[in-house]
């Protein structure tokens, strides 16, 4: 298949530079979801939890070799760096180059696998076919058994997407903008339906494959790591409530493994996009991720966290604290009795610590000291829990009071009354040291009597 536009004159290093640069705004760099042992004959295995191999200067993990096959594109999405009308250096990898890079990096333990995406050349089906062939080469000729994440191109022929699904561990179609309206204004070549169609197809494929696997244990696996998507935050005026509702819908109706949120970075300088002089909306992105975890692991529903009247997350408090403060009638919770679902809703108690509490209280009644050992963040939790009927300190169950304490830099409640404190105890905490030294003592010290 002839697709190289500019005969491949650049060196591998230059291409890698251009094509990682082009791929870096895609958030998904996870290698989780698949547990696959090595087969003893070829290179690679997968670990269910995923492995991050390095961290770049922005603190994001480098788990996969995240590259585009090409950054040539026939589309003209306004938010995208690789759009047709943007004047940037273009490059294209050959499938062999991608395979060699992946294998050599993998052997040296630099990466956990390959993340392959692409700009659209000629038409979506042609591009998808190229991705599929590259993966087939990697899996069959280079016999790579590690993790592969590949993009499904919206609008591509379903048959090609299905073939690719059998070669990949995770597939993703980027929703990019949470509402159809936003999509229409910023990505004129994309349509909501063309994005949701492959998503639905992959979901059905995974479901059908699950049935196959129940019947035939060694049936080939289709997108074993599930699918994910990405939503850009802050490019269009959607509220957090809308975004989190869309995410919940995707989790429930499309069986997605992850929805990623990407704080919008204005790389194109297009006038229809917000300027964002204060940098990308990172705090907003952080709050969305926190809420996302609450949806997936803590049994919250989107409408509990936000509603039409409060469409945005609180800047000062995390979503769980915010929820707890609006439902003070359900607190305090007794640690030694409350069921797991209730413990999960206490600020400062995570999934692990909730499970540990439930396991530990079988053999002993727990005190605040034990909770600290278990890993509960008492700084946040103390307003919402009791141990054997007693609170840690006398606190008022009053919204203003708790907010004031939760948001303050220093812990406001008087600590140390029962020997527990969050501050390192200093030698000079003793009252003796606060008074000034007398002349008499100076003399004594000078002659060695003190």
């Amino acid at each position: 298949m002839e697709y190289l536009v500019a005969g491949g004159k650049e060196s591998l290093a230059e291409k890698l530079q251009v094509l990682t640069d082009a791929a870096k705004y895609d958030v998904a760099c996870t290698s989780s979801g698949v547990e696959r042992k090595g087969n003893g004959k070829s290179i690679g295995n997968c670990v269910a939890a995923g492995i991050c191999h390095s961290f770049s200067g922005d603190g994001r993990c480098i788990s996969l070799l995240k590259i585009l096959l090409t950054n040539e594109c026939i589309f003209d999405c306004k938010y995208c760096r690789n759009r047709r009308s943007n004047d940037i250096p273009r490059a294209t990898f050959t499938p062999e180059e991608i395979c060699t890079l992946t294998m050599e990096f993998y052997r040296r333990n630099y990466i956990e696998g390959l993340f392959l995406s692409s700009g659209i050349i000629r038409d979506p089906t042609f591009t998808m076919e190229l991705l599929c062939r590259t993966l087939a080469l990697l899996r069959n000729k280079y016999r790579f058994n590690g993790y592969v994440h590949v993009k499904a191109i919206p609008g591509a022929d379903p048959e090609v997407i299905e073939r690719t699904g059998y070669l990949a561990d995770r597939m993703s179609v980027n929703l990019e903008l949470p509402t159809a309206e936003g999509l229409r204004t910023l990505a004129p070549n994309k349509h909501r339906r063309s994005i949701l169609t492959p998503m639905r197809q992959i979901q059905n494929g995974i479901q059908a494959n699950r049935n196959d696997l129940a019947l035939y244990r060694h049936a080939p696996r289709f997108v074993a790591g599930g699918q994910s998507t990405q939503v850009i935050v802050g490019a269009t005026p959607e509220s957090d409530y809308q975004i989190i509702n869309v995410a919940e819908g995707l989790y429930q109706k499309f069986g997605l493994k992850r929805v990623f949120y990407s704080a919008f970075v204005n790389v194109t300088g297009d006038k229809s996009l917000p300027a964002l002089p204060g940098g990308p909306p990172l705090l907003r992105e952080h709050r969305l991720y926190q809420a996302d975890w609450l949806l997936r692991f803590y049994g919250f529903r989107a409408e509990e966290l936000l509603d039409e009247k409060h469409p945005f997350f609180n800047i000062m408090l995390d979503p769980k604290e915010d929820w707890a403060l609006r439902h003070l009638d359900q607190f305090p919770v007794e640690i030694n009795r409350a069921p797991l679902e209730v413990l999960l809703r206490v600020p400062g108690v995570g999934v692990k610590s909730a499970q540990r509490i439930v396991a530990a209280r079988r053999s002993a009644s727990l005190s605040f000291r034990d909770l600290k050992k278990i890993g509960v963040v008492l700084k946040r939790a103390l307003y919402f829990i009791t141990c054997s009927g007693r609170m840690m300190y006398p606190v008022k169950m009053e919204e203003d009071y708790i907010v004031r304490n939760l948001t303050s830099e220093k812990d406001r409640v008087q600590f140390g009354s029962d020997g527990m404190s969050y501050r390192q105890l200093s030698l000079f905490d003793n009252g003796e040291f606060t008074r000034s030294v007398t002349v008499e003592e100076q003399l004594q010290a000078a002659v060695g009597q003190l």
Binding site: K24, S54, G57, D58, R107, R108, Y110, V265, S363
Partner: protein, 271 residues
């Protein structure tokens, strides 16, 4: 009071546990120690490692607590903290005493010794995960993949199975410089450990020709994947502590690799 003096090996500690039960000691007043620090009013009992007794203890642990919890006990013993033997001993006593079901040995976190053993095992397990993340192989001229690590705890036994499963057809060696220990994996064979005073790593690494190119390519990848508008050195340092960077090819490590320019020194300072 009785103090069993062990040498630094799991076999020795398990032998001590066996003897504590065999000699019907009061567990509250019995200690297992890895050091020679004297204890007041205590009777010292030196323990000679006995493979047979240790194996009996291991069998009991696996039968009563399950494979996973047994591995966690081994992890606690691989830690570098001095009280690890005592914590493991008393955890076993606690588990056997309250007849805990399999897989629930570490449930009783309100017990200080159980919590200590749990914390030690967690520390070692985390460090092993970190090494799986940050270990870097370098291809030598002979085609051998060679990696240096410098972990606080003795994690070699917990990372080798991972790499042996991942790279079954590759000859590789992992060198733990802190514990002068080698993990060796011949292609298509079983991995094994090599330890001893006489064992030394290659004095000068003769890297293969392509090695430098791929290192440079990876450094370039790390540079260009960073989004400038989101720069956050503190987060990077949280996720990737400085002590690992000495062994990683994408970071400046003094004399070994010097061409990585995009990691500003100032960024590593406290801002």
């Amino acid at each position: 009071m009785i103090v069993y003096r062990c040498t630094d090996s799991a076999e020795s500690v398990f032998t001590a546990v066996y003897r504590a039960y065999q000699e019907k000691r009061n567990h509250e007043e019995t200690f297992v120690s890895l050091t020679d620090d004297p204890v007041l009013f205590a009777e010292d009992v030196p323990v000679k490692p006995d493979p047979e007794k240790a194996q009996k203890v291991v069998n009991t642990l696996v039968r009563r607590f399950g494979e996973d919890d047994y591995v966690h006990l081994c992890m606690a013993l691989a830690s570098d903290q001095e009280d690890r033997a005592q914590a493991v001993y008393r955890t076993v006593v606690d588990g056997l005493g309250r007849k805990c079901p399999r897989g629930h040995l570490f449930d009783n976190l309100a017990n200080d010794y159980v919590h200590r053993a749990f914390a030690l095992a967690r520390g070692v397990s985390r460090e092993a995960e970190r090494q799986k993340q940050f270990l870097r192989f370098q291809e030598l001229e002979s085609g051998l993949m060679y990696a240096r690590i410098g972990p606080k705890n003795n994690v070699m036994a917990f990372i080798m199975p991972h790499f042996a499963d991942r790279l079954p057809i590759v000859n590789f060696a992992v060198h733990d410089e802190k514990h002068s220990l080698f993990g060796i994996h011949p292609a298509g064979g079983q991995w094994y450990l090599l330890q001893g005073e006489g064992v030394e790593g290659p004095i000068r690494l003769q890297l293969s020709q392509e090695e430098g190119e791929y290192q440079e390519l990876f450094r370039q990848l790390c540079r260009s994947i960073t989004i400038d508008q989101r720069k956050n050195w503190k987060l990077q340092r949280n996720m990737l502590p400085l002590r690992f960077r000495e062994y990683m090819v994408e970071f400046d490590s003094g004399d070994k690799v010097s061409s990585c320019t995009s990691w500003p020194r100032s960024g590593l300072r406290r801002e």
